[in-house]
Amino acid sequence: MTTSIAGIGQTEFSVRSGRSELQLAIEAIKAAVADAGIDIDEIDGLVRYTWDNTTEAAILNALGLPRLTYYGETEFGGVNCCGAIAQACAAIEAGLASCIVFYRALNARSGTRYGRGDRILSEENGQLVNRQMEPPGDVYSAPFGLLVPGQHHALYARAYLDHYGLSDDQCAEMLGSIAVTQRAYANANPRALLRERELTMEQYLAGRIISEPLRLYDYCLETDGAMAIVITSKEKAKSLRSRTVDVLAAQQYVHPGSVPMFLYAEDTHRLVPPEAGEILFRRAGVSAQEIDVAMFYDATSIMVPMALEDFGFVERGGAHDFLTSGGNGPGGRLPINTHGGLLSEGYFHGLNSIAEAVRQLRGESPNQVDCETAFMTLRGASSMILGRA
């Protein structure tokens, strides 16, 4: 592609921001623009998730931007963390805008919590009632108690374990190694919500079961805050004083049953057909073996082994051995989620993982890897490859 990520900006990660989502979004956008070294008046495009409560109109008016010549949404949330980037890149390549900001603002701990069923349930006549038409928590699954994404992930995990004949103990070894490795990354990351809390394998194993086979430490953090990412043409990026990163390829790939919550798709032990990776790597002009560092959207830890296999970073069924031997850790074959991931840094709905990929390629990560290329995906539904400019 002919586009670049020119800047990243964020608020702090917290559990109680004490301010509105609109204010958080504005703070993140101003920080991202400053990071890019552009004038705020140069923003002429905005992209966001449909799940974001803060509209483009609210941003436009609050910031007093001179004009927007492009704005658009991608459906859902984290499913489109790379899809929104792809959309911004396409708009820039089509000439619709020259400087687009992708933002996400959420009070997901002090406000509406994605880990709670309250947002899709009401209480009527002493009963919990549901009228939700789409997963998670749709009317065909909610009566059985399938209410939140973290419970869906437990279903992926069980299907995956069974497909490869892994025992619950082997599952704990594999997922525990992810949680512990990522926590150590977060301990070195001054931004991380859990920077001061260490996690040992013993503590992981002692964590209470949330939805079998997943434990407390397999889950991401409900977080308040906001993040913004500035996308421009590669040509414009070259003129900026900031260290920019090239978008080598960014794409969406969904198939029947895969969205919104991968409930009714054909296979559950894998989350995307091999074709998605083939297309992405071909577009980027690199192979999986040439990727130096990866960010896998880890709403739960099970997303890590599945992404490793779905994109051919390891053989099918090979994730357990890769992860338990430290392949994702410092000095490993493919360091993964070096910011701590959504499990331990915080949850800006995937944007913070994109930001970590950018930091790695700029040489600014707290857990720096010697890298030329970085990979990011949410279970293949959207993916991208970034390269050092």
């Binding site: 059985f144 209410l147 992926y156």
Partner: protein, 137 residues
């Protein structure tokens, strides 16, 4: 006690009306006969627009399952632990189901299941699935 109830206005829909009458019916294509779930106006196999509702065999295989131990709503504190299942019906579609409250089975992916409709009141019943060889009265 069930966990969550569909809103009353939804219980007028065919899926729930057939269950209330005691049997699982699914939305099917009126041209090719393929079943689909959740219901929709178009057949994803032949793309014909037009639907009817037909009974299914009630046979299914277990695709995945989880025991939910953490209640995600204050009113669910006494409902945990409960088992949620992902099943594939003999007719093709997948659906979310569960193990009836109070019943306990050794579950394994691939297990053969059959439907057990449990009625809560005149308008509301749920299609649970239990292992074929282990149906409890």
């Amino acid at each position: 006690m069930n966990i969550v109830r569909p809103a009353d206005e939804l219980l007028d829909q065919p899926f729930w009306r057939h269950l209330a009458a005691g049997q699982l019916h699914l939305n099917a294509c009126e041209a090719c006969g393929a079943f689909r779930h959740p219901p929709g106006p178009c057949c994803p196999k032949c793309r014909h627009i037009g639907e009817h509702w037909a009974p299914v065999s009630g046979r299914a295989t277990l695709q995945s399952y989880t025991t939910v131990r953490h209640p995600v709503h204050d009113r669910l504190t006494s409902a945990v632990p409960y088992v949620v299942t992902l099943v594939r019906l003999a007719e093709g579609p997948r659906m979310i189901s569960g193990i009836p409250p109070g019943e306990h089975y050794d579950l394994k992916v691939g297990l053969e299941l059959e439907c057990k409709v449990i009625s809560y009141d005149a308008r509301f019943a749920l299609p649970f699935f239990v292992p074929v060889a282990q149906v409890q009265p």
